[in-house]
């Protein structure tokens, strides 16, 4: 899969290696880098995993590894929760009695 020039993509880069990170981090954070991601319009046609520059919404040009093409918002309202669904009826009953 190649990015189209001008298409909406996401790039990522290592903003700080573990050695460059803050001191006194919890164990689980010490060994991993700080990774930055940003979305923008592709300035070249390259394959996923290749280096790419993008024009961001603020007009900056940033470079990183191409990690996603037309990234989708995946967050949702989640599965209905039986523990929550029971609350409304119970409370209305409480106000009636």
């Amino acid at each position: 899969m190649l990015s189209q020039v001008g298409s909406w993509v996401e790039i990522a880069w290592v903003a700080m290696t573990p050695a460059e990170r803050a001191e006194q981090l919890p164990e689980s954070s010490k060994t991993v880098p700080v990774v930055a991601r940003v979305k923008g319009f592709a300035m070249a046609s390259v394959a996923l995993g290749a280096e790419l520059s993008v024009k961001t919404l603020s007009g900056r040009t940033l470079s990183g590894t191409l990690v996603d093409l037309e990234p989708v918002h995946t967050h949702s309202f989640g599965r209905p929760q039986p523990l929550l669904l029971a609350i409304g009826g119970f409370l209305r009953e409480e106000l009636r009695s």
Partner: protein, 464 residues
Amino acid sequence: MTSYKDIIAKKREITAKALGFAYEKHEQGGLAFDYESMMNNTGYTLDEIRRIQLETGVGNTPLLELRQITRLARKYAPPGKGARIFLKDEAANPSGSFKARRAAISVYHAAKLGYAGVVAATSGNYGAAVASQAAMRGLRAIIVQEVYDSKGLGQPEILEKGRACEAYGAEVVQLTVGPELFAIFLQVLDTTSYFNASLYTPYGIAGIETLGVEIVAEVRARTGRDPDAVVITHAGGGNVTGTARGLKKAGAEACCVIGASVDLGGLHMASDSDFNRKSFTTGHTGFSVPFTTWPDRADVPRNAARSLRYLDRFGTVTQGEVFYATEMLAQLEGLERGPAGNVSLAAAFALAQTMDEDQVIVVQETEYTGAGKHPSAQLAFAESQGIALSSGDPRGSVPGKSIIIPSHPNLLQFKELSMDALRQSYLRNALAHKGAGLLSPREVEFLSEDSRTPQSLVWQVVGK
């Protein structure tokens, strides 16, 4: 790339250029500075701030009386108890939260000084507020967010807030977990020469004062009295500080200022493995306790948000109780709102039951809700992270391990924290920052003001 240490070492230099605010004018040697002179140095009066906010449709949000929830609280309260509960519907602001008040002044000021854009470090609604205000004033916006763990898994609420920032036209730099957020934010400021729209500047706090002022005016008009208590969701301290300053400016000196946070005790905020084990991304103890006990951990030389100066009481509620309050607000009052204000609502429901029927308690904010922010989104995500969900007594829940939805509304509780313990913790932190050398009389006086502790007690703690 540059290391965290190297960037933080340039903090004063970078922020001075990116704010045009003379912090040094208010310094009084060592730990001490003149807080009130700093706050009065924004160059804007309360009336001017109100006018600036009105230009972009910020403020004058409805104050709603929660009649059904008040009735329910009275059902479980002792005879004669059960204060009237009001709610300030801050979701009616342009970006859907009270944060528009903070952003309005920073962005106006940035435009006035001729900056081409604004930058803010926030995982929260503030990003959307800055982006929205920047859109209205024709400035560019960059938001730096902490979003992912090292496996690239994003917290749903923060993903939603990032989406909102982009919807208003901001560039969003999304980071993995860690305190390096502030350093990378400083780097962006340094390379863009944009304005530092930090949450913690005097502008960011002055913008919230109108919220306190509006609450007093509306409660007086509706009930003929001052609010007896205002419950404020407490995170970095700006909400508490700005609202309380507004209450005082409006003359409600006797109003009890109560902070409420979600209890996330035991979870480390900088931990890659803890990051996605929480269902609340702000308004929790992971921010409120460290910021209350040492405000100057922020991205400015001196934090204008200093909650110990204003808090009369501070306590916690559990994650399950906030989800319950969110349902209660939707199902009994017809208001579907996001998590932040519902932290205060859960607390207010319990607190109202200890107050007299003719008294007034105000929940001082709501925020918009939607995909990612909704309780079902958060609970489904928690379940996918191995958090145990059940119904019962929420006091048995353990942050990061279990969430217990109250099986009955009379189980909602406000767990009071000791203000004295927080003050002592602040003083110990101050001492650690002082390092070697004796405290000057002005430093002792400052610590006394900043923690609302008598000087004699400051000496006692410092002496230890």
